[in-house]
Structure formats: C-alpha cells, structure tokens
C-alpha cells in the first residue's frame, strides 16, 4: 500500500472517532462547518481549478440548495432531509441554465457573469416574498438536538464529494476538463466538445454545492437571503478556500476549508476573547492580506506548494 493511502485511511478514522475525542459542542460545530466548506471548496475547485472556469457566484448554488430544502419544509411539508437530494438537483438545473447563458463567455467575462448570477438570485430570494418570505428568512425545527448526526452527515458528504472528484479526475472527463483549462481552442481541435464538458463540470460542481446548502438549512435551522446568497461569506469564501488550500489539487480545498474556518472563527471571536473586541472587525482585512501572501509566496496553495513549505520550514529549523 502506498504511503498516500495510509494517510487517507488515518484521516478517515480520525474523522470517525473525532466526536469521541473532542466532546465540546463548540469545536464540533466548527468542524461541521469546516466539513461543509470542504464540499463547497472542492466543488468550486472542480469547476475553477480543474476546468479553468472561475466562478464568483457559487453562493447561487449554495443558496438555491438551502432554499430548496427550506421551501420543501415550509410550503410542501416534506422533510428538509429530502431537500438534501433535491437541493443538489435543483441547483444542478439552475447550473444548466447558468451554463447555457454564461459559457458563451470566457475567462474574466465568465467570472463576472457568475458574479451577477449570484446577485440576481439573492435579489430574487429577497423579493419573492410569497415563496421565500423575503428578508424574514426561513426557520425550521432541527431534526436532531445533538450535533453528532450532523457531524457524520457532513463527514460523509465531504468524503463522497472528494471521492467523486478524485474518480472523475482519473477518467476521460478529468483529462478533458484540464485540457479545456489549458487551452480551449486546442481542446476543441482535439475533438473535445468544450461546451458539453464545461457544462458537465458545472453540473457536478453545482450539485454538491447545492447539497451543502441543503445541509446548512438542516443544520442551522435558519436561513435568509443575506446569509446563503452572500457574495462575501459564500462566493468569495469558496474562492479563498480553493486558493489557500491549493487549486487543482484533490486535498487542497479540504485543507483550505479548515484553515479558513479556523481563521474566520479566530477573528470572529476576537482571538477567543483574549484580544480587544475591535479585532473581530479586522477579519476582512486579514483575509485580504492572506490572499496577497498566498499569491506571492504560495501560488499553488498550501497543498500545491507543500514541498516548498516543508523545505523552507526544515531549513529554518536546521539553521536555528
């Protein structure tokens, strides 16, 4: 067995026993949120990192997944857990439409179109009050009082998402996605139906992001348009998770998710109450600085540049 496989198995086991090692609800909550971000970050990475179609609007799929689950519960009285599956499917249908419109554009124009798309859905969710209750948001009663079931659902979802992407990248689809990223015209001349494969990538990506959204609805019990369609907290965060962890790497977004959720929480809680409260306002600034740092020194992210990090840390250790 390869060393890499052993690492995966240890990570998997650690994931399963984690709630028994750390019983604090607070830390469990943070890990659940991080696992959710693993799903969103990995989905974003499939589309942006591997296929080269950078999305600034993943909040769109997240929000649609969340609202699908919420509306199922409040309007149709179907368990919001059904929304987990349907949230993914509805997000995928929206993805199909978005792809049909936006894949006529390339590069930055595509990114801007998705940015606009995310904002459009936020406005729809805010104003279509008969369906979404607008700014009031949707409140549902959570199924479980304990965090444990949510933890395992999030863990399973994260593993499923990473596994599916891992498998996809080893098939024809994976080769086609990367070819499209590298040169769309060359890809087309090699017999690759670029429009179709970009759409496939978007569909898989939006499906998992939608499922993450539906999970969020179930877990938090409350959503409103400003949270789940947020440009800042969802769309940009998805990009940060991707680039900090490492674009176009399987484990990158997973690592990025834990780093970003950890950082966000550290600042939100003003260094767990140790620092003066104004530091909690500084997190946007720190995220900005972090992006500059990562782009300058770790352009391939923590996972992509892991050897570089190891080398430098080792050198520092040896000289001191």
């Amino acid at each position: 067995m390869e060393k890499k496989h052993i690492v995966y198995i240890i990570l998997g086991l650690l994931g399963v026993v984690f709630p028994f090692l750390v019983t604090s609800d607070y830390y469990l909550h943070l890990v659940i949120i991080a696992l959710m971000w693993v799903v969103i970050g990995s989905s974003w990475n499939l589309l942006a990192g591997y296929t080269g179609q950078v999305s600034f609007g993943h909040a769109m799929f997240f929000g649609i997944g969340a609202y699908t689950a919420g509306i199922f519960m409040t309007k149709l009285e179907i368990s919001a857990w059904w929304g987990m599956a349907f949230g993914g499917i509805v997000a995928m249908l929206i993805g199909l439409f978005v792809g049909w419109v936006c894949f006529r554009l390339r590069g930055p124009y595509f990114a801007l179109a998705t940015l606009a798309g995310g904002e459009i859905f936020r406005l729809i969710a805010t104003n279509w009050e008969s369906l979404t209750d607008g700014m009031v948001g949707i409140l549902i009663i959570q199924t479980f009082r304990s965090k444990l079931p949510y933890y395992y659902i999030a863990l399973a979802l994260a593993f499923l998402c990473i596994f599916v992407i891992h498998v996809i990248m080893k098939t024809k689809w994976g080769y086609y996605f990367v070819s499209i990223r590298e040169d769309q015209d060359a890809a087309e001349s090699l017999g690759i139906n670029t429009t179709r494969y970009k759409n496939i990538s978007l569909l898989v990506s939006s499906f998992f992001t939608g499922m993450a959204g539906a999970f969020y609805m179930n877990y938090m019990g409350f959503i409103d348009p400003h949270v789940v369609f947020s440009l800042h907290y969802i769309s940009i965060m998805a990009i940060l998770v991707g680039i900090v962890g490492g674009v176009a790497t399987i484990m990158g977004p997973a690592v990025g998710a834990f780093i970003m959720v950890g950082l966000q929480e550290t600042f939100r809680s003003a260094f767990f109450g140790l620092a003066p409260s104004w530091t909690s306002e500084a997190h946007a600034l720190v995220f900005g600085l972090l992006v500059i740092f990562v782009i300058l020194f770790l352009p391939n992210g923590v996972v992509g540049d892991w050897l570089k990090i190891k080398r430098n840390v080792f050198r520092v250790g040896a000289s001191s």
Binding site: K172, V178, D183, D185, A187, S189, L190, G191
Partner: protein, 241 residues
C-alpha cells in the same frame, strides 16, 4: 479518390477579403502543399476547414460530405486533425497527458487512451519527453507535440500549419522524415509551409495563393517555375526573366 474538396471558399473579415473564391482538392494518400507569401490567407483556409472561422461563402466537402457549419470537435471526429502555427501546448500537463487527452477522441477507457498515446509518442519520437511538462519543451519539440496530438485523434487528413518553422537544420530533416512516415501510414496531408526545402521535397502537388486568390496549382516543379508565383515571392522583375 478525392478526400477533401474546397469549393469557391471565401472568407471576409469586415471589408477585407482574406480568402476569395479559392477551390482545390486533396486526393487520398497524397501530400498537398499550400504556399503563399505572408498574409496571403493560408492559415485562414485552415481555420475555415476545421471551422475555427465560419466561412462567408463556398463549401468544403470531406469524403463527399459537407463540413460547413459543423462544430470544430465534430470535424475532428470525422477525421480531420490539425496543428497550430502558433503552438498551443496544454502547458501544465505532461507530454503523455497531452497526447492521452486527444487519444480519448477514439477510445473511452484510460488504459486504451494511454496505450494509444504511447504508440503515437513512439511513432513521433517523443518517448524520452513523455513525463516532462509541455511548457518545458523547446519549440522544436513543441511542434512535434502538436503533430503527435493531432495523430492521436487518428485523422484521415491532417492539416499541418508551418510545423517546420523555427526548427534547426537537423530538426528539419527529422520533421521531413516524420511527415513522410505519416504519409506511408496512410494519412493524407495538407501542409502550409514557408521553408521551400520542406515543401518542394515532400509535396506531390502544390496550390499557391496570393492576396487570398489562387495563382497556380501543379507539381512542385511547375509551381516553382510559374511566373505568377515568382512574381508573388520575388517581385515583377524576376518573373519576366
């Protein structure tokens, strides 16, 4: 048998007639040369054949079927491969992955695609480069990779766009050998080239154009002695003597 037939091809960019009323055909198994001074419309013709540009008027037939309006990837699946004059390597993929990606044009499984890619790399003498990233290759190898990638799609006709430009003399001979080897394997070739050593030595027939219009067609010898061709390349004074 006629493999490719270009009929009255015209391509207009705004007010500029890049290609006007050009007709020629390529027979199965031959090497057809397409020559002309810079900006005469050779690459434009290629771009029209595989529908990188939409042609303004005229028609193109491949194996008797019109390819007009078909998507670029469909045309590739029909059996027309091409290389780009300005090489387009899939930079952050290895040479093997570059060729594997295009081998998926004909096969579904990764095993078959990789086998096919290795076969093509062997054929085009790139085996020793297979694990290098495409962006790390020098220009000569990149041009070769362009050919290998086109070959992996198993084309009946391959469009070579200045694959010999920028090569050293020894690379040039290797390129000529590769092109001949392709022909011997039953691939029909339409080649655009500026280097006369290449085009004159390998072409069965040559079609010459200038300002987007046909000026001559025939064997390399006939075309080289055609006054219109000499005028286009060297000026009027040389054509008269």
């Amino acid at each position: 048998m006629v493999l490719l037939e270009v009929k009255n091809l015209t391509k207009v960019f705004g007010g500029l007639k890049a290609v006007s009323n050009v007709s020629f055909h390529v027979d199965e198994g031959e090497i057809m040369g397409l020559i002309g001074p810079n900006g005469s419309g050779k690459t434009t013709i290629f771009n029209c054949i595989n529908h990188y540009y939409t042609l303004t008027s005229g028609d193109i037939f491949f194996e008797g079927k019109s390819v007009k309006g078909l998507k670029t990837h469909t045309i590739c699946h029909m059996g027309i491969g091409r290389t780009f004059q300005v090489v387009k390597p899939l930079s952050r993929m290895t040479v093997l992955d570059n060729v594997t990606a295009s081998a998926f044009c004909r096969v579904g499984s990764i095993k078959e695609a990789q086998d096919e890619a290795l076969r093509v790399l062997e054929f085009s003498d790139l085996m020793d480069q297979k694990d290098k990233l495409a962006k790390s290759l020098p220009i000569g190898k990149r041009k070769r990779l362009e050919i290998a990638r086109a070959l992996a799609t198993k084309p009946k006709l391959i469009l070579l766009d200045e694959t010999a430009a920028g090569l050293t003399p020894s690379e040039l001979d290797a390129a000529i050998d590769l092109i001949k080897k392709m022909r011997d394997n039953g691939i029909t070739i339409l080649i655009v080239e500026h280097i006369m050593k290449v085009i004159m030595s390998i072409s069965d027939r040559i079609h010459a154009i200038n300002f987007g219009q046909t000026i001559a067609e025939g064997t390399p010898h006939e075309v080289a002695n055609n006054p219109a061709v000499i005028e286009a390349y060297l000026g009027e004074a040389y054509a008269q003597c």
